[in-house]
């Protein structure tokens, strides 16, 4: 019972943290609208890029235009969601200047504090526009209700995994460098590779981007599930591996947070 209470308190804390960010952002309504328009540049660029590929060539074997567009939208959503939930510069500054102390006195876990208080609200604009691309591409694919549900669950689990991995890298970077400078370079490289089907990188590349840096769970596998390339068995494998990795990452984050030195450093 206490476990459930703690979990709900944590969710509430995350909700309040995000709500604060949203209210601050929505206060500038004109800026909000402009951001929504600017953010459309990224999915439009993806659309044009994939359109040119399929216009002048036969494209990627085994992948249709809309499947690749769907994958691109998933990667775009992930690229925006991760910094939205967890801003690398905000988190490192919080740790470096000791703001994090404030949150450790609150009745929820340090991990929840990280999720609740170091987000970049403007990232959500990019998520909205990328979601539009995903819906557009998805509408041109044949899909079942089960496929949509499996895709959504795998994407959510994959996003949790990538956020946790991102936090581990930020904590590592903070510990070693006291800076977030390397984190975004790492993440951008990762999303560049995830922008194309993992099968292009052969067996080793696929395993690496699935089990070592599990970005495939948030992008490639949901796309495969949505387009019916794989079925329920693959979904169950994804669930099991995600659960194991979430547990492992949670433990790593908890251990790394023990090294946090209060009052700057």
């Amino acid at each position: 019972m206490k476990l459930i209470d703690n979990f709900l308190d944590g969710l509430h804390a995350v909700y309040l943290g995000q709500l604060f960010g949203w209210k601050s952002f929505l206060y500038y309504r004109l800026q909000f609208i402009f951001y929504l328009i600017y953010a459309a540049a990224a999915p439009l660029a993806s659309f044009l890029f994939i359109y040119v590929i399929y216009h002048v060539t036969v494209g990627i074997p085994g992948w249709s235009f809309y499947q690749l567009l769907f994958l691109s939208g998933m990667v775009g959503m992930l690229s925006a969601l991760v910094p939205y939930i967890c801003s690398s510069s905000g988190m490192v500054n919080g740790l470096r200047y000791g703001y994090f102390d404030l949150y450790l006195t609150r009745p929820y876990s340090a991990f929840t504090a990280l999720m609740a208080n170091f987000s970049d609200t403007t990232g959500m604009m990019y998520v909205v526009d990328q979601l539009a691309l995903v819906i557009y591409a998805g509408a041109h694919l044949t899909v079942t209700a089960l496929g949509v549900i499996m895709t959504a669950i795998t994407f959510i689990l994959g996003t949790i995994l990538v956020v946790m991995l991102f936090q581990i890298i930020i904590l590592f970077s903070y510990r070693v460098l006291r800076s977030s400078g390397v984190v975004n370079n790492f993440f951008n490289t990762l999303t560049t590779f995830a922008g194309y089907p993992l099968s292009l990188y052969g067996f080793t590349g696929t395993v690496f981007l699935t089990l070592v840096v599990p970005i495939g769970f948030a992008t490639y596998y949901p796309t495969e599930l949505f387009s019916g390339k794989v079925g329920v068995a693959a979904f169950l494998y994804a669930l099991v591996f995600s659960a194991i990795l979430i547990f492992v990452f949670y433990k790593i984050i908890s251990v790394k947070l023990r090294g946090y030195v209060s009052a700057m450093g």
């Binding site: 040119v52 403007t122 800076s179 194309y196 990188y201």
Partner: protein, 272 residues
């Protein structure tokens, strides 16, 4: 006399040198950027290699399969120098914080000081990211280097730097009106990436679009320097490209003067 010396350039060189030296403080970040720019093009190379193989051809729209590797690595290399988005970021910060007031009372022309400041960053990036990737690409692929093309490569990068500096300067001026311009700045970056040849070599675009893109300022950002040094571009294409670029620089320079003259009146010393 001192003020005249500064206006003639000593002060700007000092700003450029200071930025260059202060960038040395972030060596690990530089290594991380270098690693990203070396690793990320591999994804594009794999993608296009597979597309060429699937299409069962060695040339698509006149772009040879053999040049994929060198193209994407060199694009990645020069992407650390241009486009110069730092200029609008600096202006946004200066205008938001009110720091711009301190610049305006110094013996500097603020726009030139900005170009010198971001030029220091660009020079640092060129030295420690562009050149190493260039040498790695040369050593790996071993393409034929023609002396004149090699000489034109940094000149085209410099012209691209100047042109994008002027574009981003005009966007930076908007900060006097809308305060936050990071959205516009990011949008423009996407436009440059797609229409400038970073994601797709311009010759791979459908013929009609490619010929329009060649005239627009975007083409000279990534495509022209890379096509020049790798031998993809003919001499007439290079000559026209440089002339277009000089023309666009003149246009953007005049537009920047006008925009700066108008927006300067809206800047608040106390920030905003």
């Amino acid at each position: 006399m001192q003020r005249r010396d500064d206006l003639l350039g000593n002060g700007y060189l000092a700003v450029l040198r200071t930025t260059f030296i202060s960038d040395f403080g972030y060596r690990i970040e530089t290594l991380a950027r270098l690693a990203r720019r070396l690793i990320a093009p591999i994804a594009s190379v794999i993608l296009w290699t597979i597309i060429y193989a699937a299409s069962n051809t060695t040339t698509i729209n006149g772009f040879p399969r053999a040049d994929i590797f060198i193209y994407f690595f060199l694009v990645s290399a020069i992407g650390s120098v241009i486009p110069n988005a730092n200029i609008s970021n600096s202006m946004q910060y200066d205008i938001q914080s009110g720091n711009v007031a301190t610049y305006l009372i110094k013996p500097f022309i603020y726009p030139l000081a900005l170009i010198a400041e971001t030029g220091g960053d660009a020079l640092y990036e060129f030295t420690f990211i562009t050149l190493p990737i260039f040498f790695v690409a040369c050593a790996t692929v071993g393409f034929n280097l023609v002396l004149l093309r090699v000489a034109l490569f940094p000149i085209e990068i410099l012209l691209g730097f100047l042109m994008t500096s002027l574009i981003y300067f005009m966007i930076g001026c908007l900060a006097a009106y809308v305060i936050n311009i990071s959205g516009i700045s990011n949008t423009l970056l996407w436009v440059f990436n797609v229409l400038g040849g970073r994601l797709i070599p311009l010759t791979l675009f459908p013929a009609g679009i490619a010929s329009v893109l060649t005239i627009l300022p975007f083409a000279s950002i990534y495509y022209l320097p890379v096509a020049t040094i790798s031998g993809l571009a003919s001499w007439s294409y290079i000559t026209n490209g440089i002339l277009y670029m000089l023309g666009w620089i003149a246009v953007f320079f005049l537009a920047s003067l006008l925009v700066w003259r108008v927006s300067k009146k809206k800047i608040l010393a106390a920030g905003g």
